[in-house]
């Protein structure tokens, strides 16, 4: 039995069948779908291209590196232990040396004990201050925008500067003591030339080898240079070389030392790629 409500619905459907057929769109055929996909292929290909990651630039927060800036940062480092040690050593030397005969031979070497001790102090200071013993701190100090070897170079340069400065002050003190003792044997020029020549050539050799062969070879070369200098000094005593001849030798050592130091600076700037040096 039909319900009146059902009849009403059936009648409504019959009436609307015509208008609805005109409004409804037929489903797309497989061919039409394929055509649509083919026409959109270009867009799909665009999407598939991997977006290029933006190029990395030098950190805008960071100033371009310079030797002056890195030296400034290294000066902040607490060098108290080196200052104290060097101060104590030089005080001892000033007290030890006889002001009346300041250039007397020590252990058969001309020039006394002063030029003998100064390079040794530099080697030890370089060893202790080149880098921190803590691996973590060493890692953090390595991660700078500077060429890795430049940080090491400036640190060693600073240590050399401290030792040279202390030695100059001690020379001044020695000179004053000599004047007080009314000794005419103390000659500032030859004395400074003597210790500074061997000091710079030892430090220069150490740095030169450090940036080429590493820390062990650096130490070996510094000790070798120092040993050779002792041998040469012995020869000078044996053959009775004149003061001018000795000064010429010391001047040559000083120039060689300076050349080695400057060459090490150039080398430290070029060590960009070989980052193992800074980590080994």
């Amino acid at each position: 039995m039909d319900h009146p409500f059902d009849n009403e619905l059936r009648r409504l459907e019959d009436e609307l069948r015509g208008p609805l057929r005109r409004a409804a769109l037929p489903s797309p055929t497989p061919d039409e779908t394929a055509q649509l996909i083919a026409s959109l292929q270009g867009e799909f290909n665009q999407l598939r291209i991997e977006p290029e990651s933006p190029k990395l630039d030098f950190n805008p927060q960071v100033d371009p590196p310079s030797l002056k800036q890195i030296l400034r940062s290294q000066i902040r480092l607490n060098q108290r232990s080196i200052l104290l040690t060097a101060g104590a050593v030089f005080c001892m030397l000033v007290m030890l040396i006889d002001p009346e005969y300041p250039l007397d031979q020590f252990a058969g070497l001309p020039g006394g004990i002063f030029p003998l001790i100064t390079p040794l102090l530099l080697i030890v200071s370089m060893l202790f201050s080149s880098r921190t013993w803590d691996k973590g701190m060493r890692a953090v100090e390595t991660l700078t925008p500077y060429p890795p070897a430049l940080v090491l170079y400036t640190r060693l340069l600073l240590v050399t500067g401290i030792v040279v400065g202390m030695a100059l002050l001690s020379t001044l003190a020695l000179g004053l003591r000599s004047i007080q003792a009314e000794s005419s044997r103390f000659l500032f020029g030859p004395f400074i030339l003597e210790w500074m020549g061997i000091l710079l050539v030892t430090g220069g050799a150490a740095m030169y080898m450090l940036f080429r062969k590493g820390m062990v070879y650096s130490l070996i070369s510094a000790v070798l240079v120092y040993g050779m200098w002792i041998v040469i000094q012995g020869q000078i005593v044996d053959h009775g070389v004149s003061m001018s001849g000795k000064m010429l030798t010391d001047m040559s050592l000083l120039v060689i030392g300076l050349i080695l130091l400057i060459s090490s600076y150039g080398r430290s700037l070029k060590l960009n790629g070989a980052w193992r040096l800074a980590n080994d």
């Binding site: 990395l56 927060q61 701190m137």
Partner: protein
């Protein structure tokens, strides 16, 4: 983005080998057991170690060709770091900033304020607590606002408040930058991590979203309170966590089926997921 290609590095008894991987911006969490290669991977990514083979590209630039440039964009907090104890905090951070080429005192002041280090500016580092020293270590890494920030176990030595602060800070910092954290305590990074990088015995096992990492496990996590006698029956390898209550034991364990009526299934945390994956690997031999 950092891209790793054919990366190899011998580290002690194992060899880290990653054929291909891409690390995206956001907070990336490196997970793995002790000795899995997490620290080696971080040291390679920070350019502290050079790979034996393969390459690392930072936004398309090779580390070997652009070392100062890349290092200008890297900040690093090692797991163990002994800061210069005799230096005062302010002086140490100024020294570190200048070493990184940052000559802007405001950068230091801002970070000292953010990390509540202002009261310690004139204190010697060696006189400060481990947590404060750890905060200083984090600040030195942030001085140049680096695009790539690497932290190896950064929460070590920090109290609960410091840990929460650092995680929140890093979550914000990672927006538009890359932060990579190696951690043991995974649950603390649950809400923060955008990506999980799982290393196992020198191999990259997974890199992707934490959610997917959790979905990849075949086992489930169950939690319940049981008697001590029942606790002793549970195989050790299934235990994730247990805690003594008054007379019973609160146990969290893994298993495919419900271990007993006292147990309820729980959504796995990152730490659970790590256990589940490690357990699955162990079963496979």
């Amino acid at each position: 983005m950092i891209r790793l290609e054919g990366l190899e590095r011998q580290a002690g008894t194992y060899r880290l080998e990653i054929e291909k991987a891409e690390i995206q911006s956001g907070l990336n969490l490196i997970v793995g057991a002790n000795g899995a290669g997490k620290t080696t991977l971080i040291e390679l990514l920070t350019t502290l170690q050079a790979p034996d083979a393969g390459e690392i590209l930072y936004s398309g630039r090779r580390a070997g060709d652009h070392l100062p440039l890349i290092r200008s964009q890297i900040g690093y907090v090692p797991a163990d770091i002994e800061l210069y104890g005799d230096m005062k905090v302010g002086k140490l951070l100024t020294y570190m900033a200048e070493l990184k080429g940052v000559f802007n005192p405001e950068a230091i002041d801002g970070l000292m304020a953010d990390f509540r280090l202002e009261p310690f500016r004139k204190s010697k580092v060696k006189n400060l607590s481990q947590g404060v020293q750890r905060r200083i270590a984090v600040v030195q890494a942030l001085l140049a606002s680096p695009s790539f920030l690497f932290l190896d176990e950064p929460l070590n030595g920090m109290d609960a408040e410091e840990r929460k602060f650092l995680i929140t800070y890093l979550t914000k910092y990672a927006r538009g930058r890359m932060v990579i954290v190696a951690a043991h305590e995974l649950n603390e990074w649950e809400e923060a991590a955008d990506t999980v990088i799982w290393i196992h015995r020198g191999r990259l096992r997974y890199i992707g979203s934490p959610t997917q990492w959790k979905l990849n496990v075949a086992s489930s996590v169950w939690e319940g309170e049981i008697d001590l006698e029942d606790f002793e029956q549970i195989p050790q390898e299934l235990l994730i966590h247990f805690q003594m209550t008054e007379h019973r034991m609160r146990v969290r364990l893994m298993g495919k089926k419900q271990p007993g009526p006292e147990f309820m299934e729980k959504a796995p945390t990152l730490e659970d997921t790590f256990f589940l994956h490690m357990n699955a690997l162990a079963r496979r031999g």
